[in-house]
């Protein structure tokens, strides 16, 4: 009897890119729902706009580069980029903000470097930083969380949609009435104007550990991160070392002077710390390749984020730190190659 | 703003000038380049490139006088590696130069060899052994298949055979 031959190994592969990306999306879902609950439908609108733009841009570029479109499109990586970007953008942003961000992420950060697997920088963070630098005003339009005792005003879905698409608000509201500084902003501004940390913390936006609402969203993000760790989608090196790199200096300085430095808990549950640790820095393409390299890479991001938050000009520094460490990856890779078995 | 622009532009221009000057003024270690180019060639000294050996050809390449597609035994692979090393365009192999291949070796037909010893001195790698009036032989492990000896045999008794045969 004759048989077809095929090269070994014959065991079927036990991992795949679409499955990995889909797991990431599942892991983000609870946090996304919490986001919508606390900050209204803005996140959903941004996410849809970003996803549509990202997929369209990807298809267009692939077409231009004369590459097959089906396989890269169904690997969901563009959707993950869109989702991460949407977490970074304030809910009250006009539609072209997520659209432009997603466009930059896919076209500039991903495809100009050669597509998935070749990009040096994390696409979502490139998209976000481009937005942050080009449209600083739009990127501060955060709104207060839906909390019983807080004075908040959320737009209904349709009103929000029409604001996003046309910029028109219902007659009785103004942008200023809707927006509020984020806890990170408050801390930064407060410390700068010589308030003590505990004075700032007394504000109504703060909960037990960090910003109200934010605590919840970030807890869900951590939950998603644990799911990724559990399923083996990501490995522990980057998230753990990122948290260590951030919390270690945070704890030291806070112990040194609790009036001038925020608590480690605040750092942990504010801004993009957990999102960065589990979802952004773990993007395999732009991270260091060996386990040892990833320890350094993660710690570097954490430490830089702390520095930017504490001494830099921006309230949060995750995006910048990720991009900075991305650019250090070739160097890290070079010096952290594992020693090959049986060689010195 | 103005100062910044001037400083940065000046810096860029200045460094640019330094680069250009170092390239022009320093001899660029032509010898070292030639050596590295030589190491990318097959180094079988067949002279098909039109130079009397791989080193002269390498020197010509390093001096920018020769094309990188003149080595038949090296084939497309060598052209590609040279192009990459020198930052030149990949060009198609010049097929007019010959067809020497490292997969063949010379063999002397001992029934016809007259022991004239003419093939011995011309072999660039001393692969032919024999003294006058005796039958000569090719050391297959040393022969590069360069075809040089073929033309010097008065009775045409040297052939090329596949190396592994």
């Amino acid at each position: 009897m004759r048989f077809d031959v095929a090269p070994g190994p014959h065991t079927a592969p036990i991992a795949s890119v679409p499955i990995t990306m889909r797991r990431v999306l599942y892991a983000l879902a609870p946090a996304a729902l919490a986001h919508v609950w606390f900050f209204g439908s803005g996140f959903a609108i941004n996410f849809v706009v970003a996803t549509v733009t990202a997929l369209a841009a990807e298809a267009a570029v692939l077409r231009l580069r004369r590459r097959p479109t089906r396989v890269p499109l169904n690997d969901c990586s563009a959707i993950v980029t869109a989702a991460l970007l949407s977490f970074a953008i304030p809910p009250l942003a006009p539609w072209w903000i997520p659209a432009f961000g997603a466009f930059c992420a896919i076209v500039v950060a991903k495809h100009l470097y050669g597509g998935l697997g070749r990009n040096l920088f994390n696409p979502a963070m490139v998209g976000y930083v481009v937005l942050l630098i080009s449209f600083p005003a739009e990127l501060t339009q955060w709104i207060p969380p839906r909390m019983g005792d807080l004075d908040y005003q959320h737009l209904a879905f349709l009103a929000h949609l029409s604001y996003s698409l046309t910029g028109a608000l219902p007659t009785d509201v103004t942008v200023d009435a809707l927006t509020r500084a984020t806890p990170l902003d408050l801390v930064k501004e407060g410390l700068r104007s010589a308030q003590t940390y505990s004075e700032i913390r007394a504000g109504s936006l703060f909960g037990g550990i960090a910003g109200r609402g934010w605590e919840w969203i970030n807890s869900f993000i951590a939950l998603g991160g644990l799911y990724l760790l559990y399923t083996g989608t990501i490995r522990w090196q980057i998230p753990i070392m990122l948290l260590v790199g951030l919390l270690f200096p945070a704890t030291l300085l806070w112990l040194f002077d609790p009036d001038r430095f925020a608590t480690p808990g605040f750092h942990l549950f504010s801004g993009a710390t957990l999102l960065g640790a589990f979802f952004i820095a773990t993007d395999p393409v732009s991270a260091a390749e060996s386990d040892r390299g990833r320890l350094i890479y993660g710690a570097g991001i954490g430490f830089l984020t702390y520095c930017i938050r504490t001494w830099g000009g921006y309230p949060d520094g995750m995006a910048f730190s990720v991009l900075l460490m991305n650019s250090a990856v070739p160097l890290i890779d070079r010096y952290t190659r594992p020693r090959i078995y049986g060689r010195d | 703003m103005l100062i910044g622009t001037v400083v940065l532009a000046g810096l860029a221009l200045g460094l640019c000038a330094v680069l250009v000057l170092t390239d022009r003024l320093l001899p660029a270690g032509r010898d070292r380049v030639a050596e590295q180019v030589e190491s990318l060639l097959p180094r079988i000294q067949c002279a098909q490139c039109g130079y009397p050996g791989c080193r002269p050809y390498a020197e010509a390449i390093a001096a920018g006088e020769a094309d990188i597609n003149r080595c038949p035994p090296g084939g497309e692979d060598t052209v590609r590696r040279l192009a990459e090393f020198l930052g030149r365009e990949v060009v198609a192999l010049d097929t007019t130069l010959g067809s020497a291949s490292m997969n063949r070796v010379a063999r002397i037909d001992e029934h016809n060899c007259i022991g004239c010893n003419r093939c011995v001195p011309v072999c660039p790698v001393d692969a032919v052994v024999g003294v006058q009036q005796t039958i000569h032989a090719v050391i297959a492990a040393h022969c590069t298949g360069c075809e040089i000896c073929l033309a010097h045999c008065p009775v045409d008794c040297i052939d090329l055979i596949p190396r592994d045969a």
Binding site: P7, P9, S16, G117, P284, P338, I340, G342, R343 | D77
Partner: protein, 510 residues
């Protein structure tokens, strides 16, 4: 016998579905006699054997049909009685691929008549003769490497530890497991014989933890033997800890240098099947005639382990196991990781064939489309040799031989872990296999080129020196002649004198 757990974790590796339940559900099937035998002259790593039978001759079970002439060789025996039909070239599976080699084809007569008792030589006293006896007994490494056992047991660097490898970590393969369960005492005896030969102070039997019955049986046998140098190590169930280098590291913490074999640093690894064969040879005078083969996969009617005479055509073995069941997508020789697909089932079982998988579509890789590497690093984490397969991949596809060296292409053991774990489904192992050929060719070429360059330099120098010497001589004469007037006169007179003499000689002879 002491049982212990090595306190090291294996580097890399994967936990894979074992697929061993079906074939271990019943004891090893014995007493199978094939209708035909195809005995390849080269079933070991080393020079082929020389046939000593002729066409038409009747051979008996246990009779030598091809002798080992070289040291690194092992004789071949008829594994049943019959008539030699032909000695011809056939396709035969070898370690990494199918190759064409000379075979003795025997039509079995079904009588399975053995050599008369006492025909085999008794186990000699002299260690030198003992090695020869092992060589003549046709024993080779039965784990798949088929290295002649006599060569491995020979006097070389002193042996620190004899490792009996019963790890059998690859999916589907269960022949060693079954043999350990059923013949633990024989294996222990064989191990002790080899330990004696090597004068090894210690002998470790390594078994994977997922084989409790085998471990139990071995412990029992070890206790019964009463030998204090024996230990049993239970190894975590992770593929590929059964690889020689991986096993040495796991058991001793020592790495085998890239440039050496384990035996060169004092660790001799022998498969449990080999230990069993040595026992049979020494205690019963029986050469290597059969081996246990796992027949597995969803495409086989009765998956099981069969004691198979060497040389049995694969088709006949399948038939013995009830034939194929359903659509068989691929016929794999070896395990599902390191095994390779056979083009047909007419080839014989050789000494190195440990497993045969008749695989249905659902159990083997079907998707051969690949994506870009996403640099996830899974492959590096899984690589037991601590390589960075993604970097190797790039170097291999760019044909960059310097990088291939730097990233350790030749240290890849082709275990397939990187391949199976890669989310982009890149056929890494295949790329590396091919790259190894290209790389070896390139390195040979480099050595040749460098030598050629040297020869050319010497040739040129000599030529230059020759020319120079000629010039020097001329110069010297001219110099002498031009500067020294009396010498010049002398030279002229000498020439005239010579001419005169010749003339007078000429006239004399007239």
């Amino acid at each position: 016998m002491l049982e212990y757990t090595p306190d090291r974790r294996p580097t890399g590796g994967l936990r894979l579905p074992a697929h061993k339940e079906a074939s271990t559900a019943q004891p090893i099937a014995r007493g199978f006699v094939p209708r035909t035998l195809v005995l390849a002259l080269q079933q070991h790593q080393g020079p082929p054997t020389t046939p000593v039978v002729r066409r038409g001759e009747r051979v008996l079970r246990g009779q030598v049909v091809a002798r080992a002439r070289a040291l690194r060789s092992a004789a071949v025996h008829a594994s049943t009685s019959g008539h030699v039909r032909a000695i011809e070239d056939r396709l035969v599976p070898s370690v990494h691929a199918v190759h064409r080699t000379r075979c003795i084809v025997i039509d079995a007569d079904g009588e399975d008549e053995p050599l008369p008792p006492g025909a085999g030589s008794a186990w000699p006293e002299d260690p030198e003769k003992q090695l020869k006896s092992i060589r003549d007994g046709g024993i080779v490494g039965l784990g798949g490497g088929v290295f002649p056992t006599a060569e491995k047991l020979g006097p070389q660097t002193p042996c620190k530890v004899l490792i009996i490898n019963g790890v059998e970590c690859e999916p589907y393969i269960s022949c060693d497991d079954m043999l350990m369960r059923e013949a633990a005492a024989e294996i222990v005896d064989g191990a002790l014989i080899m330990r004696e030969l090597l004068a090894a102070p210690e002998c470790i039997v390594a078994v994977e933890r997922d084989k409790p019955q085998a471990i139990e049986a071995l412990l029992e046998a070890g206790r019964a033997s009463g030998d204090a140098s024996l230990r049993l190590a239970d190894i975590p169930t992770i593929y590929p800890t059964g690889g020689e280098r991986q096993l040495v590291e796991m058991l001793t913490g020592e790495e085998v240098p890239s440039t050496h074999y384990p035996s060169e640093i004092g660790y001799i690894c022998q498969n449990v099947g080999t230990a069993f064969a040595v026992h049979r040879l020494v205690r019963a005078g029986e050469p290597l005639l059969s081996r246990v083969v796992t027949v597995a996969g969803d495409g086989i009617a009765r998956p099981q382990n069969v004691e198979t005479p060497i040389g049995t055509p694969i088709g006949e073995l399948i038939e013995f196991c009830g034939g194929y069941r359903g659509d068989v997508d691929r016929l794999i020789l070896g395990g599902s990781m390191m095994g390779y697909a056979l083009p047909n089932d007419e080839m014989p079982i050789t000494k190195g064939s440990n497993c045969l998988i008749a695989a249905a579509r659902t159990e083997v890789r079907q998707d051969f489309s690949e994506r870009f590497c996403i640099r996830c690093g899974n492959c590096g984490t899984a690589c037991p040799a601590r390589l960075l397969p993604q970097e190797l991949l790039r170097a291999a596809r760019d044909n960059d031989h310097a990088l291939l060296d730097e990233f350790g292409l030749t240290d890849c053991i082709e275990c397939g872990c990187c391949d199976v774990i890669c989310p982009s489904h890149i056929p890494l192992t295949e790329v590396f296999r091919n790259a190894k050929f290209a790389h070896a060719r390139y390195q040979r070429q480099e050595v040749f080129s460098a030598e050629t360059q040297q020869r050319f330099r010497r040739h040129e120098e000599r030529e230059r020196a020759d020319v120079q010497r000629g010039k020097d001589l001329q110069d010297q004469i001219r110099h002498e002649v031009e500067t020294d007037e009396p010498a010049r006169q002398q030279a002229i007179e000498a020439a005239i004198e010579r001419a005169r003499q010749r003339r007078s000689q000429d006239t004399d002879s007239e």
